[in-house]
């Protein structure tokens, strides 16, 4: 099966759907198995990142560059950042404690941090999982953009 673009041009609508829900753009193009596997992989990696590092592993303000990659996974990244901001950083869950003085040197550091803030391996690996999920979905979106529509059952 060719992966050349349709004669009418690029699949912008399906690509946008693919960003909103990873893999769904491929499913809309008729590549059901391909899209379902991709969806399971991207959402599975993102969810694993959240389970490993907690919601704090997605942080638009403190880890901006990582968030650029995580945002590739679609609205789930923004939802996770919203959850982090609303549930953990406000102290709704856990307690807020004084920030260690060394962190106050950073201009972006908050004066008080949550006891649920993830650190060390948990945070690093959780962030890595979700960022890779975002990058992989970007490659899926680019693939969706130029993949030929099909109705083949085994595609």
């Amino acid at each position: 099966m060719s992966t050349l673009p349709d004669e009418d041009g690029l699949n912008w609508f399906e690509a946008a759907l693919g960003w909103l829900l990873p893999g769904y753009g491929l499913i809309r193009l008729g590549h059901r198995r391909r899209g379902a596997w991709a969806m399971a992989a991207v959402l599975g990696l993102f969810a694993s990142g959240l389970v490993i590092g907690g919601l704090d592993s997605v942080d638009r303000r403190e880890d901006g560059l990582w968030f650029v990659m995580q945002a590739g996974a679609g609205p789930v990244a923004f939802a996770a950042d919203w959850g982090n901001t609303r549930l953990i950083k406000t102290g709704q869950y856990g307690r807020l404690v004084e920030t260690p003085p060394s962190r106050l040197i950073d201009r972006g550091a908050q004066p008080r941090v949550s006891t649920l803030k993830s650190i060390t391996y948990s945070n690093e690996i959780g962030t890595l999982f979700s960022a890779l999920a975002g990058l992989l979905n970007v490659s899926l979106v680019l693939d969706t953009l130029q993949r030929r529509r099909t109705e083949e059952s085994g595609s």
Binding site: A38, S48, V51, G54, I88, G94, F129, L136, S139
Partner: protein, 81 residues
Amino acid sequence: MSGLAWIPLLEPVQMGRLWWLLIVPLCFGIAIVYRAVKAPSMDRFLPGVLRLTANILGVMALLAALVFVVVYGALPLLPAD
């Protein structure tokens, strides 16, 4: 934090010394998406994914062994000064 009191998503996982084993699901996920983009057909998709995962892990293990030999074998032989 006790494992029994762990609240998924709100609290990070307390990982022990086996944190590096997470490379296996990471490579598996990457292999799925790679094959989903690159494979011309979906026939024998899962065996292809497993083979690619094994290849990635094998190469990583070889690189780890190489670094181990350099750090613990070759570097101590260098003069300290």
